[in-house]
């Protein structure tokens, strides 16, 4: 029987339902382990707007101070802003208290190294070993430092960096009418100021009160974005942006109120990025082939990695790519700004693209090569995974195999990708094809095999 885990300490740090499961003692111990790991330097701490954030932040700061770190409290801030500020300020590391797109009852610690990047697998393993060994550095009164508060600098730095990579005047001249849904999250204050003050948009914003709970599902998906879509039609907006609670993911809505497919969002961002900068593209295995078509137009190469932001980021670094991301999760990574998923880079690239082409967002989308995609998930029992994967292989003997992350079966015109989730006991699978019938046929065959 698949079980749901209300607490998970593992590859993605520590994540759980706050209360009985994710406790202040755990958060403090993790903070203490983190402080011990990065050494007695400065550590930045910020959070999204979850009501459990302050409690966890104080617990994490307690552990960091006990390890002899100086703590800079960045307050409520998008995750990418925290990452950038860590890297720019020569801090030893950073921690964001956010469960990102997970529901409000969850919270989590996202861990960054001194370069403002997610801990890689080796760093994570070392930290988790240290956490389990519980032999933390215990600073005495002579060494214990303070919490300093800085709620301004990170936001300023982030906006300045993004603006360096768009033609601000061209965008401002268009005075785009833009709708925003910040899910009452970490972008509630920064996003309106970014769109209105920095990019000169005529803004219609909803869900920008950081003191209120999430008014919709935290993950910006077509089903949960009815409000902004309606608002856009009502107010005749040219484009709509919806963020997740920590401002790393971005959903885009066209002028007709239609929520763009996440892979198309990434494709348009890649198009905008490649137009501006030399370099290749890095996406995960489960991202649409539309990226390959776009890259081919610019004569660039596409590298594919296992699913997970850290994997994409590592490859972007390795090949010095121009842009990358993960299609299915709405994550655009524009390394010129920072090596992280960043909804602000995404918003800027979109507005810039509209301004420079003079096209509407639906026209831009329509020009993308058309693919049909469907994603699904099924629970699985431990011990059955290998058998399931073998059955898949046997059923499609003519396909090319990629086993980098689960199993990807590739044909010239379509593909199937099946992988076990890192965070839940489920198998995720996706199918993509040039025609809808073909895609449905593939999807149904895989689904019936897995069930």
């Amino acid at each position: 029987m698949p079980r749901e885990h209300l607490l998970k300490i593992g590859v993605s740090g520590i994540r759980g339902v706050v209360g009985e499961f994710l406790t202040p003692a755990l958060a403090c111990a993790f903070g203490h382990a983190f402080g011990t790991y990065v050494g007695r330097g400065t550590v930045m701490v910020g959070r999204d707007t979850r009501a459990t954030g302050p409690m966890l932040q104080h617990a994490v700061q307690c552990g960091l101070l006990a390890a002899g770190c100086e703590v800079i409290d960045l307050g409520v801030l998008p995750t990418p802003s925290i990452q950038m500020y860590v890297s720019a300020s020569k801090a030893r590391g950073g921690i964001a208290l956010t469960a990102s797109h997970n529901p409000a009852e969850y919270n989590a610690l996202k861990l960054f190294n001194g370069r403002g990047l997610f801990f890689n697998n080796y760093e994570r393993d070392e930290l988790i070993d240290l956490y389990h060994q519980s032999e933390f550095y215990q600073a005495g009164n002579e060494e214990i430092r303070n919490v300093r508060t800085d709620h301004e600098s990170a936001q300023k730095l982030h906006i300045a960096r993004v603006l360096k990579h768009v033609d601000v005047d061209v965008v401002r001249a268009r005075k785009f009418r833009v709708a925003l849904d910040a899910v009452n999250g970490a972008g509630s204050v920064m996003s309106p100021s970014f769109l209105k003050d920095s990019l000169g948009c005529d803004l219609v914003a909803i869900n920008t009160d950081p003191t209120q709970p999430f008014p919709r599902e935290a993950e910006p998906k077509p089903e949960s974005l009815g409000d902004i879509a309606a608002l856009m039609r009502d107010k005749n907006c040219q484009i709509g942006f919806a963020q997740d609670p920590d401002g790393d993911r971005l959903a885009v809505i066209d002028e007709n109120g239609r929520v763009l497919d996440n892979d198309d969002v990434l494709a348009l961002a890649v198009e905008a990025g490649l137009e501006r900068l030399p370099g290749d593209v890095v996406v995960n295995l489960t991202t649409s082939s539309v990226i390959d078509d776009i890259a081919a137009r610019f004569g660039r190469r596409v590298y594919r990695t296992p699913v997970g932001e850290a994997n994409v980021v590592e490859m972007i670094q390795a090949v010095n790519a121009a842009i990358g991301g993960e299609g299915s999760s709405g994550g655009i990574i524009f390394p010129a700004v920072h090596l992280c998923r960043d909804s602000y880079s995404g918003m800027a690239l979109f507005l810039h693209r509209m301004a420079s082409t003079g096209l509407t967002i639906s026209q831009l989308t329509d020009r993308l090569p058309r693919y049909f995609r469907k994603i699904g998930k099924v629970g699985y029992e431990h011990g059955r995974l290998g058998t399931l994967m073998l059955q898949l292989e046997d059923s499609f003997p003519e396909a090319r195999l990629d086993r980098t992350d689960g199993l990807k079966l590739i044909w010239p015109e379509h593909w199937i990708h099946v992988r076990a989730s890192n965070t839940e006991p489920i198998l995720r699978f996706s199918a993509e094809a040039k025609s809808e019938t073909e895609m449905n046929d593939l999807y149904d065959r895989v689904e019936s095999l897995l069930k």
Binding site: V17, V18, G19, E20, T23, P24, A25, A27, C28, A29, H32, R50, A51, T52, P54, M55, L56, H58, A59, Q61, C62, G63, L65, A66, A104, E105, N107, Q138, A139, G140, N141, E142, E143, I144, R145, N146, V147
Partner: protein
């Protein structure tokens, strides 16, 4: 085997050397235990002394309390009495003072207060310890996690309460020097100067979290270090010295004499007893017998209880509050009925100033007029297993006197007494002797000999 001294978890709370004894994990668990213990739905007040480790402990205390669903009000760097009075005024569920009080800088501690701002009774303290040891905390779900509010305005309402009892105009007359020992008293005294026009001359007035100018314990030795030698050169009428969280006070006379911490309670009794509704003065078995003389003169009665804060707190609870005038120890820590039985060094200082103003005498002369008692104290390391035998032998040996065995052995004769007891905080035996008029040399030497034979 002796326990490591760097951490002590007891009815008095959590205390230890930060890092080597007291860790972040202890703080989180103890704060969660207290959050579970106190009444839900009401705020919990916290404050801290300037120790550097207070920043770490504050974070843990806030996290533990928020996780139990409490609204937390952080009063910042303030004295323990300021926190205690604020708890009562704001009808809070309770509070925590992050302070190791009179210990040196590397120590820190959590002091827990109940709904009225007073220390927990033994029964309550035991319940808190049980919750801590069980680690079954009432952590609320994600919808109920509390929020933090910062309130740095708690000193003024505290001063208003003092102003309602003392005649501030009169108390401005003596020239007063105060050694703040880099603690929280300076914040209160500066405010008294600023707001009410006092002229306190402050030394070691800068709160310092790393190192204190001297050992913050209140004793004639520490008062002699900086405060007493300044008295004559500055032409001061009196000098006061506070511990780091300002719940204790010590004095130096106009002649630069460092007064024993034993004298604080008798001085306060002398002034306050005629003004208090109750006539009972609670103190422990080890403090000076001068108290009985003064209290008798002022129409009161002394109740002696075992040494330690907990025994005093429990004795307070055993009487109606209108029966009690004062409670205190020979350490310079005194609580008064007028101030809701909160150990308060500032209120104690104002009482001693009031006594001087009323008598129109310098402190040295007031003290000189009291009957003279001479106290001798010693500490001997102990072997725990031999203690019962020693105490039994002392009772036999000194059966001519009145024997009290509430806490070790105390024997009283007219004009002379001794008390032999085991320390609650260190593995030592304490021997105290006092005689009216002269030093209790013979008794003291014979006691020390017997104790050494046995340990």
């Amino acid at each position: 085997m002796r326990a490591r001294k760097a951490l002590r978890i007891s009815q008095v709370g959590l205390r230890g050397v930060v890092g080597s004894g007291l860790t972040a994990a202890h703080v989180i668990d103890f704060a969660s235990a207290f959050g579970t213990f106190v009444e839900p739905g009401k705020p919990v007040l916290i404050g801290r002394d300037p120790r550097a480790s207070g920043s770490m402990i504050r974070e843990g205390v806030v996290a533990g309390l928020l996780a139990c669903g409490h609204e937390v009000v952080d009063l910042g760097v303030v004295s323990s009495p300021v926190i205690q009075h604020a708890i009562r005024r704001q009808d809070a569920a309770g509070g925590i003072s992050i302070s190791a009080s009179h210990n040196t800088a590397e120590w820190n501690a959590l002091k827990f207060f109940g709904a009225k701002g007073t220390y927990l009774s033994t029964a309550e303290a035991n319940e808190l310890l049980d919750i801590y040891h069980l680690r079954k905390f009432r952590l609320v779900d994600w919808t109920g996690v509390g929020s933090l509010r910062v309130d740095h305005g708690a000193i003024d309402p505290y001063l208003d309460e003092l102003a309602a009892v003392f005649d501030f105009e009169q108390l401005k007359r003596p020239k007063v020097v105060v050694d703040c020992c880099n603690g929280t008293s300076s914040l209160i005294l500066k405010r008294l100067n600023e707001r009410f026009g006092f002229h306190f001359i402050l030394i070691n007035e800068k709160p310092n979290g790393r190192q204190f100018a001297h050992d913050p314990v209140i004793s004639a030795d520490t008062i002699s270090m900086q405060l007493a030698p300044l008295m004559k050169p500055l032409g001061a009428d009196v000098g006061f010295q506070f511990d780091v969280d300002s719940d204790r006070v010590g004095v130096a006379t106009e002649d630069g004499v460092a007064v024993s911490e034993e004298m604080i309670l008798p001085l306060i009794a002398d002034y306050m007893l005629p003004r208090a509704h109750g006539k009972l003065v609670i103190t422990n078995l080890s403090s000076t017998a001068l108290l009985e003389d003064i209290v008798a003169l002022r129409g009161g009665k002394v109740l002696r209880v075992p040494v330690g804060r907990q025994a005093t707190i429990d004795a307070l609870a055993a009487y109606r509050s209108d029966q009690i005038a004062l409670a205190g120890e020979g350490t310079g820590a005194v609580m008064m009925s007028q101030f809701e039985f909160v150990y308060d060094g500032i209120a104690s200082m104002l009482t001693i100033l009031s006594l001087m103003v009323e008598r129109q005498l310098p402190l040295g002369e007031i003290l000189a007029a009291y009957p003279r008692y001479v106290m001798r104290k010693a500490e001997e390391p102990l072997t725990s297993t031999r203690i019962p035998e020693l105490l039994a032998r002392l009772q036999q040996q000194y059966s001519s006197g009145k024997i009290n065995v509430q806490d070790g052995v105390r024997v009283d004769w007219p004009g002379e007494w001794f008390h032999v007891r085991v320390s609650q905080t260190e593995p030592i035996l304490r021997v105290i002797c006092e005689k009216k008029g002269e030093a209790p040399t013979a008794l003291f030497e014979s006691l020390i000999e017997q104790v050494r034979e046995s340990v």
